[in-house]
Amino acid sequence: MHTVIIIGGGPAGCEAAYQLASDGIQVHLIEKNNETGGNLNNWYQLFPDRKNAQDLNKRLQEQLNHPGITLHLGMEPSRVEKDGQGRFSVSLSDGSLLEGDALLVATGFKTFDAKRKEEYGYGIYENVVTSVDLENMFRNHAIRTSKGDVPRRIGIIHCVGSRDEKVCNFHCSKLCCITGVKQAIELREMLPESEIFCFYMDMRMFGPGYEEMYREAQEKYNIKFIRGRLSEAAENREHQVQVKVEDTLLGRPLRVTLDLMVLLVGMEASNETQGMARELGVKLAPSGFILPLDPHYGNNLTGEKGVFITGCCSAPMNLTDTLNDARSAAVCITRYLNMK
């Protein structure tokens, strides 16, 4: 019987583990945290259907009860080696050793550290939060300013840490636009009286139902969209945030005072993704994500035989695409093992 070692227990790793195990393959799933789910653990609701994120998480967890899957929680691979027969051995942080016939890297992404964009004031001004912080506020059903008041005016800032040469990220993180629309709607539901703005450069509504959600945000939820990139933010004595953008559709500078500013932080390859790439000698794209062998025929393949990739370690992906990508990786691996 064949064995596959999966590194990373986020949605991609979990789904791939289940698909492989269902095909009769022995799976070792390594996760550095004490629970699986990865970034999904931080999310409140999913777009476009507003499903509770933890329902999906639970379902993925339940699938891991498959007898073919051995879970290694709280573990990190300290060393990965490949022998002449194409077998991998992975040493774990507790000293144990796993052996497998193929390796699947599912080490995912991390969100952009908003402190690196200092002029936006995250960690400096009191009422600047990230989209991740906001998800947490949603889960606690408490949207308040630092003083504990209901924010009467909220601004959501697109492209923070993405499409920005100044922080060395040229890529678009793909999901923040729709996250912004979703969060604007959620804010409106919790705060019916507040004024809610999105400051965007382009609305990238790439998925099924996304454009419809954008339309709904305008029509039903009265979200206001202003086309302009945040240039500067400052804090006033009341700890409100004063922002400056150009209203590019009118061609004039615009100032507005916000009680709460939400930064839609972008996605970067996680440290583990970069570390695994180094360890395994697989190539990185200029974006810092792992470069697949081919964008059409080989998106789960790397230049290294027996090393496969899935999920957001190779590019920003929504959950629909992540789960599909995991299934596609499972198919590639099964085929590879059968030819061995």
Binding site: K166, S231, E232, E246, D247, T248, R252
Partner: protein, 111 residues
Amino acid sequence: MNFWGFNISETRSINYDTNDKDMLIHVLQEVPSCKLCIECGGCTAGCTAGRLTSFNIRKLQMFMKRGENKEIREELHKCMLCGKCILVCPRGVDTRKMILSMMKYIKNNQK
């Protein structure tokens, strides 16, 4: 003399076929980073000159790209060359160098 009191309005549309793209060719050669603009408005939002006047550097750049050079000739001198716009540009457009290059072109091609 306009005997009838009527005028024929000139068309407002940009005539891309006949517009003069010479300034654009000159500036793109000197400052290739101009090609990278995504019209985000970051430069204009914080522009020192744009705060007090109708000066809009993002729009002037677009006028140049469409060959609408009249507006540029009228407006460009308002820039104070402070360089603030370069600090925010997410695409690394060297806006100040672009402005200098536009100024140089205008000076050398006074009509």
